[in-house]
Amino acid sequence: MNVSEIERREHYLNVNYGIRSWLFTTDHKRIAWLYLLSVTVFFFIGGLFATLMRVELLTPQGDLVQAETYNKLFTMHGVTMVFFFLIPSIPAVLGNFLVPMMIGARDLAFPRLNLASWYIFIIGGAFTLMAAAAGGVDTGWTFYTPYSSIYSNTHVVLTVVGVFITGFSSILTGLNFIVTIHKMRAPGMTWFRLPLFIWAHYATSIIFILGTPVIAITLVLVGLERIFRLGIFDPALGGDPVLFQHLFWFYSHPAVYIMILPAMGVVSELIACFSRKRIFGYSVVAFASLAIAVIGFLVWGHHMFVSGQSVHASMIFSLLSFLVAIPSAIKVFNWTATLYKGSISYDAPMIYALGFIGLFTIGGLTGLFLATLGIDVHVHDTYFVVAHFHYIMVGGAVMGYLGGIHFWWPKMTGRTYPEVWARLAAVLIFVGFNLTFFPQFVLGYLGMPRRYHVYPPEFQVLNVMSTAGASILAVGYLLPLMYLIWSLRYGAVAGANPWRARGLEWQTPSPPPTENFDRTPVVTEGAYAYEKEPAEIYALRKPAHV
């Protein structure tokens, strides 16, 4: 088989050419590519900010950049990574590509709305990048008032306008997914035959729709107070600064689940495929996603144990935060149990998935420290918190994202990536990640506050370790960028189903035709029915379609 065989057949990539065919496309698969390119750009911009911070923190003195610049760096790092990479990454790239394919649909329910979501995302991103180019913003990604609304002299309004606009892209994507999953499942695709990836995206979409409007309103209020001096949050104007924190975290804590739930969905697919087994306790894992989405809305106050909120409110939030940990623990146990008596291979996506379980377990368990009132008082706003949420967001969400990108790359491009390089990158990322962030747990318990440009000299050794880890991590992230681009031209032809996976998306050629399926598939079995794999597929590692 040679390369031209991909081109001989018409598929969504070669059906037409030219910039207009991409910018005006309503094909969910092409829109996924638009998102992939955009979030990749944002990821490396956010990564550049992080790199500069880590280099600055090599020494206790503030020698590379000024305090003002440092504050802008961590703010822009947070804003870019949270709102323009982590939140859209899996849903908007992999979700866009896969939600219709996995349920046997032709496209999302509202293809034009889907394209509009991408334009909204890009407009929001443009505002935020404009703010960065105009001199940046220094409030922290949390925009705490009254610093953000009154005291900061940086481009707060431009930035929050960007985040505000981008929020609508999330809302519309969530709406699109929910309607699609309800109305467009192929014949026979009942709710409990859905891949767990779909359940995870359904839960995520609920948060998109219910949570995002709250952050949008909150940021509008910050803008109003900043521009018109309306007294909402600043006590000098008659406002309440803690009110902002309630509103902000009402969205921003569920936003953490926006980042992690889709990654959990990806990991369920990967674990099943590379151990060739059903996910242990499928329905428990599915309901755990919904439980996380629902309880996740009731725990925001755990960000505010030392904010001056009522001690009794803190107790309730602590209790609920422990409750939301349980469905996550259940998922980890079920994934692990899935491996039992499986047929496990160690392809790069599986390395990411196993890495995800390990790092997410550490991230989840350290979350218990923060839910524990007596301990949180000490570690709140220290590097312990920074380490914890990077274990969830980078160790969890980014590992899941990269695992998913590798897994579905053959489907998206029709080509395979170089396996050896991919395994090397996955291991580098795992090692580099731990070296970067584990020392930060120690730093945090020692008492090093976050967002410190200058720090006491006794914290230096651990900071040097962290920066050393970050450089390994950077190499780990640059490798996939290079070999994946390389594989677009030189990668081996993948065939329809190189992983012998059971999902519907693998039962159509790679890259898929614009309509996804030549004939609407009829589903007769649950997800991950690896035991029912027809015998002839072993003899035939080559795909039938090309």
Binding site: A67, N71, D138, T139, Y144, Y147, Y151, A236, P241, V242, S275, R276, K277, G281, V284, F305, S307, G308, M315, S318, F322, A325, I326, A329, I330, N334, A337, Y340, K341, G342, S343, I344, S345, Y346, L354, G358, I362, L365, T366, L368, F369, T372, L373, I375, D376, V377, H378, H380, L446, G447, P449, R450, R451, V454, Y455, F459, V461, L462, Y530, E531
Partner: protein, 317 residues
């Protein structure tokens, strides 16, 4: 073992060892579960590695008793954490009656402290060992956070209201003070030192180089200077409620709602007198917003609190 750098913070308050004990409990639970998961993954990944391409493992639907077990056991463990953590938390926010009360005012980017005996400090705080110390804190601008890692206590310091925290230092020495809530450009410079002194040393420090005017006396002279006496004097015109014995009492407001006369209520009544009108009085008091500093407010409050003691003394006579 000396690595040349610390791995664990000093324990310098009565609270520190309690927080650390709970911390180590959580570390033990975490190590157990991380170890368990890593071990299982490793064992399964080796034992059940794919040996032939056509392996077709038996499907396992799941086991209800296992799902129940790994829901209930973690839940029980987290409830231990919850209760244990809540008990410590309650203690952090409930200062003993006899605590020495020190006022803290934060601003971009410095900490100001004033002792009841009048001594003021900047970016430093002197406290005696073995005595509970309560901090009454407020901010002049944005939100700050008063954080003493060696004592395991931390509390946001808000503009427009008071927050409180207390500790009892258990070991003489010098400890770090950090601002833990991001507050602008020089946030990482908003640091200081806490000097924990033996009681005798502390007395010596108090008597050396101080102004000698206590917070109550400073408050009294402000009270006079702003003419508060005219309306709030016992047995005077009585255009305003008398303040003797007010602090800590429940005040009935116009409309019938009761309010406890704590520091925040007094502060609000000085800066925004019309927010809460005491039943039976007219809203005629002018605002003192902009006229009195945060330190001045704390001194006025100290003075009004002292009127309780005076009343009690008078009653005893």
């Amino acid at each position: 073992m000396d690595l040349g750098f610390p791995l664990f913070p000093e324990q310098a308050s009565t609270l520190a060892s309690r927080v650390d004990a709970l911390f180590f409990f959580l570390v033990a639970v975490s190590v157990f579960f991380v170890g368990l998961i890593f071990l299982l993954i490793f064992v399964f990944a080796v034992k059940y590695r794919r040996r032939a391409d056509d392996e077709r493992p038996e499907p396992i639907e799941g086991k209800l008793w296992m799902e129940v077990a790994w829901s209930v056991i973690p839940f029980a463990l987290t409830m231990v954490m919850f209760v244990w953590g809540a008990i410590i938390f309650f203690d952090i926010y409930n200062p003993p009656e006899d605590a020495l009360e020190i006022s803290i005012v934060g601003r971009q980017w410095m900490w100001k402290a004033q002792h009841p005996t009048g001594q003021s400090e900047i970016n430093e705080l002197h406290v005696p060992v073995g005595q509970p110390v309560k901090l009454m804190m407020t901010s002049e601008d944005v939100i700050h956070d008063f954080y003493l890692p060696a004592f395991r206590v931390k509390q946001d310091v808000l503009p427009g209201r008071y927050t409180r925290i207390w500790f009892e230092a258990s070991k003489a020495g010098v400890y770090q003070l950090f601002c833990a809530e991001y507050c602008g450009t020089q946030h990482s410079g908003m640091i200081g030192r806490v000097f924990v002194l033996e009681p005798a040393e502390f007395e010596k420090w108090l008597s050396g180089g101080a102004t000698g005017i206590s917070m109550v006396d400073q408050g009294a002279s402000l009270f006079k200077r702003f003419g508060c006496e005219t309306c709030h004097r016992a047995g005077g015109t009585n255009q305003g409620p008398t303040l003797a014995g007010l602090f800590g009492k429940t005040v009935k407001l116009q409309g019938g709602n009761p309010v406890t006369a704590d520091e925040d209520y007094i502060r609000e009544s000085i800066l925004d007198p019309r927010a809460k009108i005491v039943e039976g009085y007219q809203p005629i008091m002018p605002t003192f917003k902009g006229l009195v500093s945060e330190e001045g407010l704390l001194q006025l409050i100290a003075y009004i609190k002292s009127l309780n003691g005076a009343e009690r003394k008078a009653a005893q006579r």
